[in-house]
Amino acid sequence: MITDNPAAPAADGGRTSTCRIRLNGSDEQFDVARNDLLLLSAIGQGIDYPHNCRVGVCGRCKTRLLQGRISPMVDFALSPLTNEELKDGYILACQAKVRTDLLIDVQLGTQAILPVSMVASRVVRWRRLPGEVIDLRLQLESPLMFNAGQYVTIAASGSFVRRSYSICDAPPDPSGEGAREIGLMIKRLPGGEFSEWLFAEDRTGTRIWVEGPFGMMGIDDEPRDGLCVAGGTGLAPVLSIASDRLARHQATTFTIVLGLRSQQDAFADSYLEALQRLYPTRLRVLRILSHEPADSNWSGLRGLVTAALDDALGVDYRAVSAFVCGSLPMVEAVERVLLRQGVPASRIHADKFLPSR
């Protein structure tokens, strides 16, 4: 990152092979080789540019282009950008080839990005959990460093089918060599190529390629109390974040609100109970069921996950960091409720996933 002389344009009026990227309202700037993708180049330089999927799906690298010219790799109408955002000059940095010096509006993070690597692995645990979820544990041939809440893309050896899943483990010690194993929670998606294959039989011993880490849900957040809202296997990154922060910050407390369809889908009880045993006074877990039969013995909360986010939850919404993970509509609904309750937008960290068949 260059911070000297922010007003200076790149040499030769922006026609050289390097383009200067300036950030609106800041003295931060960096250089990108002309024709390189904005996001890829930025994270390649270790710049904490907001991103998640890197392929134009999640919209996390949304950036407002104020000056200069980019070429989109795909029509932005095929991206998560809304029509209004398109009219307002928003682009996706992951799909933007830089053609000239740029002036952009985006909030950079403050931490170095971990390098992405491709690692071979083998399945060492394949366990069916309630709710048609597989607890998949991979032993890596080379260590992998990752941050809490990040995800990896996996593909069975010899297969073109790639899918992305969040790591549910706490991240490895940053001063060590990295994790030798990672755990994933994989929900069966009817008709889904990968999940149907995974569910068909015990895949222990299968060779899997792992690429990552990706995503940055809350990497740069300050230590403070956390409110986590997860839908189904959206719990995986939440477990990683809660485990990490509860271990690192002794004074923080966490509330996890987990949305499930019914008691039959309680796939994560063993994980949550283990975490509660470690932090009995600092971790609170609430389950809310959306499709539990009315005449069942369930005495807990009922309804959509947003129904739990009221004043009765006993959380100081203005003081917490919120971590939300689940399907796109669920995350968007939760974000709206959290904003209404007073959580600052900058402290809502969301990981939206779109099921892929």
Partner: protein, 375 residues
């Protein structure tokens, strides 16, 4: 200056075709004869790794734009001559049709492809309109979005997997392209909150182009002239574009979809093929940056290469000969270009194709998962 003149070889072929059709008789073969003569000569030439002069890029663009206009005039002329019963013998009628098919494929199709990839709005629209010459103005969207994003994976409709014959590929690729272009167009009009018939939608504008083009052909040559001209567009450049794709991407695999590396496409770098195809056979450079103009592409002397282009196209029509040619090349690619992950993909693809994989390490401790065979 020679670099700029090189691309006028296409102009000469178009002019020869125009003159030959106009004279009629046996001369209808003139354009095809010149084209095959050039390609035949090319087969004996060494690969050309030179980089084009970059001082006057507008000159290149002017030549290509002129050639595309000539291609448009040529199809109108053909429709007109058919309408006038100019080709009186079966031989001349067949000769004119076949000549038009190949000249329009080799000379005109690369020009419109080059143009619709451009960032310059005028040139891009020129290329978009030029797609009427392949009678498929919708081809651009699946090409620019899906093909360039998913190259070397089965998610790319243009991609032929190991073991696929040309005939099976043609059947699958057209079906997949239609489904994909509908999906993409629908996504765009839905996102922008428009009705499917909204005149601002790309597909509606393209339909209008096609209607306009058909009307011009009808005006030039009546119903019969227009029919044969459309037949030329569909059986020539449109169909052969997919033959080209079949050859240029055949069997290569990527372990990093969406992140193209130079090893993920084949190249043909002989001098006249580079010139006639507007460097598209310098394929790695084009995929590396699809906005880069043809004269800016830098040949990769170390990249994966196939034999001369014309030979590959002809072999593709005879599957046993094609496999005889491509399997050793793929084996070499697996051993010298592929990453470990890609080798595992290649091995699965070989097994799926029913090919004996000589490279399988029998001491390997892992077995391929069934899903590797499924997709």
């Amino acid at each position: 200056m020679l670099d700029y003149l090189k691309y006028t070889v296409s102009t000469v072929i178009l002019a020869a075709t125009t003159a030959g059709l106009w004279i009629g008789g046996v001369y209808v073969w003139l354009g095809l004869g010149v084209l095959l003569g050039v390609l035949g000569l090319d087969a004996f030439l060494k690969p050309d790794h030179s980089i084009r002069d970059q001082r006057y890029p507008w000159l290149y663009d002017a030549v290509v734009a002129f050639n595309m206009a000539l291609g448009f005039a040529l199809i109108c002329q053909y429709a007109y001559l058919v309408g006038q019963d100019h080709f009186v013998t079966t031989s001349s009628a067949v000769g004119a049709f076949v000549t038009m098919m190949f000249v329009q494929f080799v000379v005109t199709a690369p020009a419109l492809h080059e143009m619709f990839h451009r960032e310059n709005t005028g040139l891009r629209w020129y290329g978009r309109i030029g797609q009427v010459l392949i009678f498929d103005p919708w081809r651009e969207i699946t090409h620019v979005v899906t093909h360039h994003m998913a190259v070397a994976t089965p998610y790319d409709p243009d991609y032929a997997r190991r073991g696929d014959t040309l005939y099976g590929h043609l059947f699958r690729t057209f079906r997949k392209q239609i489904v994909e272009s509908y999906h993409l167009e629908k996504t765009m009009w839905t996102k922008r909150g428009r009705a499917w018939w909204d005149p601002r939608n790309g597909w509606v504008q393209r339909a209008a182009m096609l209607v306009g083009f058909t009307a011009i052909l009808l005006a030039c040559g009546g119903a019969y002239g227009a029919l044969l001209a459309i037949g030329v567009c569909l059986l020539g450049p449109r169909l052969f574009l997919e033959v080209f794709n079949y050859c240029q991407h055949y069997g290569l695999v990527t372990g990093t979809p969406g992140r193209f590396e130079k090893r993920h496409t084949w190249n043909h770098l002989t001098p006249f093929v580079r010139i006639l195809a507007l460097e598209i056979t310098n394929h790695a450079g084009h995929h590396e940056d699809s906005y880069k103009p043809f004269y800016g592409l830098i040949p990769d002397p170390t990249g994966p290469k196939q034999p001369q282009f014309l030979m590959c196209v002809l072999l593709a029509f005879v599957p046993p000969l094609w496999f005889m040619m491509i399997r050793p090349l793929l084996k070499h690619w697996d051993e010298h270009y592929a990453t470990q992950q890609e080798r595992e993909l290649a091995r699965a693809e070989n097994l799926r194709a029913g090919w004996v994989d000589e490279r399988i390490d029998q001491s390997s401790r892992f077995t391929l998962p069934p899903m590797a065979m499924a997709r």
